[in-house]
Symmetry: C3
Subunit: 279 residues, 3 copies
Amino acid sequence: MTNSYLLLEVKQTLTNVRLHHPLVHHITNYVTANDCANITLAIGASPIMADEKIEVADITTLSQALVINIGTLNQNSAAAMLLASKKANDLGIPIILDPVGAGISSFRNQTLTSLLHDIHFTVIRGNLSEISYLAGYKTQPKGVDATSDDCISQLDKQEIASLLAKRYRCVVVITGKVDVVSDGSKTYLIKNGISELQNITGTGCMLSSLVASCCGGMPQQPLIATLTALLIMGVCGELAAEKQTGQGSASLKIQLIDNVNTLSYTTLKERGQIEQTMP
Amino acid sequence: MTNSYLLLEVKQTLTNVRLHHPLVHHITNYVTANDCANITLAIGASPIMADEKIEVADITTLSQALVINIGTLNQNSAAAMLLASKKANDLGIPIILDPVGAGISSFRNQTLTSLLHDIHFTVIRGNLSEISYLAGYKTQPKGVDATSDDCISQLDKQEIASLLAKRYRCVVVITGKVDVVSDGSKTYLIKNGISELQNITGTGCMLSSLVASCCGGMPQQPLIATLTALLIMGVCGELAAEKQTGQGSASLKIQLIDNVNTLSYTTLKERGQIEQTMP
Amino acid sequence: MTNSYLLLEVKQTLTNVRLHHPLVHHITNYVTANDCANITLAIGASPIMADEKIEVADITTLSQALVINIGTLNQNSAAAMLLASKKANDLGIPIILDPVGAGISSFRNQTLTSLLHDIHFTVIRGNLSEISYLAGYKTQPKGVDATSDDCISQLDKQEIASLLAKRYRCVVVITGKVDVVSDGSKTYLIKNGISELQNITGTGCMLSSLVASCCGGMPQQPLIATLTALLIMGVCGELAAEKQTGQGSASLKIQLIDNVNTLSYTTLKERGQIEQTMP
């Protein structure tokens, strides 16, 4: 019942993205910017990357969503992130925060503290280390890749996501073997996806681009939009793995983006494994 | 008749690039730099990306062509573009301007105004929104992607290209369903290509790299060089689409670069659809 | 005999990388950063790219190896390279220097001089132009791509590598048709690889990432670690070429990374062509 209502909303999100091609302004890292741009186009949205502080407010103004990704943060981009985010807040444009490497340097931590103080983010999406850091839990971050899912129980993950969502009145995603998404009152688990995506750089960044694309298409429903993006990534990961048996990580990435580009709502519905948790 | 003479020149351009491997200095964006480098190598030229203002003049001096692409412009790269371009003008090295996102921010617009005032560009290549902006026509730019071809007639496009070419004594390209290239006295239409390339980021940037590669191989004939690059992109797009039926945008990009790498002049001649417009 | 001992060490290196996933901090260029991150993941290590001077020491401290690649050097990254390298030297973390474009600008040359004065590098890896420049030999560098192998004899190459290795008490690699690696007392030739890799940007950068990954897994044996990386790149290049007959440079890169991801030690042993030179 919930699911069939949910699925209608998921369908609407996908339709909106492909119909309206929301412009997604990215202030992001140079490592995965190309993949983020391509997956944004693949789902039907339109990417623009711009990080010069004297122009970001102009660009954000034209956009339907903003991605703040601190993967290769520097002092200039940190300043640009603040300016663009303030403009987005003023205009009611959804902002997705990808706190890449939260906890691994004072500079990143201070930038995150400052952003979370001044800006209202619509969605925060990270791996377990990153979200745990933001929630105040101590984990052992290892670079920008996630620590093992096994060090913490599924229930604790749900609690962390929900707690952080309440604190910042936003949607929070913890990606992992099972993805958790919560707006503080409702929490869903998405059980799609494949572990081989860990062998590709930027799957987290690409997911954040999909979240932003979906938020751009469904600005009043960030929880649904985010859930749609998680489903797309999970299902397309599975399809990619099936199509490329015996090859390696580089062709898996090609297959992943190909499948996002050709994805139908029917496939998403048939394969999607969403579960709402008990409150 | 014109065509057979033209084709001999096209052949010579391709031969020169593959024989002399012109070094193409790029001051460009970080989103598509990897694809630009790879397509430059694929056609037979040699790419170098360098944007630090204290070294760009040294690098330009070694080069046979210079690309100025403002996709992720910042204050440092804007300064570097001016220095490198002045050096290129001093040495007679062809410069290709790719005015990515012209019209979308004051910073880009001011930088373009300043560059066009101080520098003689050999070729300006953009989509309809970008070239219209430079020509002083009002359009509705949407980020860095082109506005619809349909909002303006083919004849008007030809006029805009020709007008801008005369104003700046250069070659102007408007890419779209039909590409228009003009040096102000002659105008050609190239009718090759596929619309699916819009699902890949950086096809415009890659085309500018091909234009620069061809100008580096045929520096005295920028119109022919540019026309050759347009043919290569259009024909290789078609070949890519034929080889990858049923897949998506990421494998299309792989096929595109593969086909540039293995392209023969014979294929270019057989498939090329060039038309000279009436004056 | 030497070979069977060597091969055991090569096996140990590969095993260590896949077991311990060393974190490899890259301060590198934006052109090939994505490929470098992906090949680092493909071999089993974990990449992190970070170049803001106020955070690099924090990142290096967490890492098991550091790559310094000057491909798109700027004044900020040059400062970050010095800070990160000093921290790595303090902590005994291996550093790999990739002197991209050595000799092509005063800025690069001065930065290299300064780095080589203040820092002890574990491995220096470049093409013939770059290493010759560092050794004080005059060659004609052409951008960032290698000059022809033919302009200098194999014996001279071995001497240059050995001389530079002695001067800086490090391992030196000259890549080319035959790769030369020396620590000043022992010198090996690796005869694997394919010339088609020249049509892909960043194969040198990717190799440096593999060297760093292997050094991270085998920190006490940089010569063995480097030799392992050269074998991996050479053998996977050959496998890639075999699997993709008739296609072009873009699919060759995909195959290359795929093969690194799925490589077994058995394949490495069967195909590896290592030769120790006479002293």
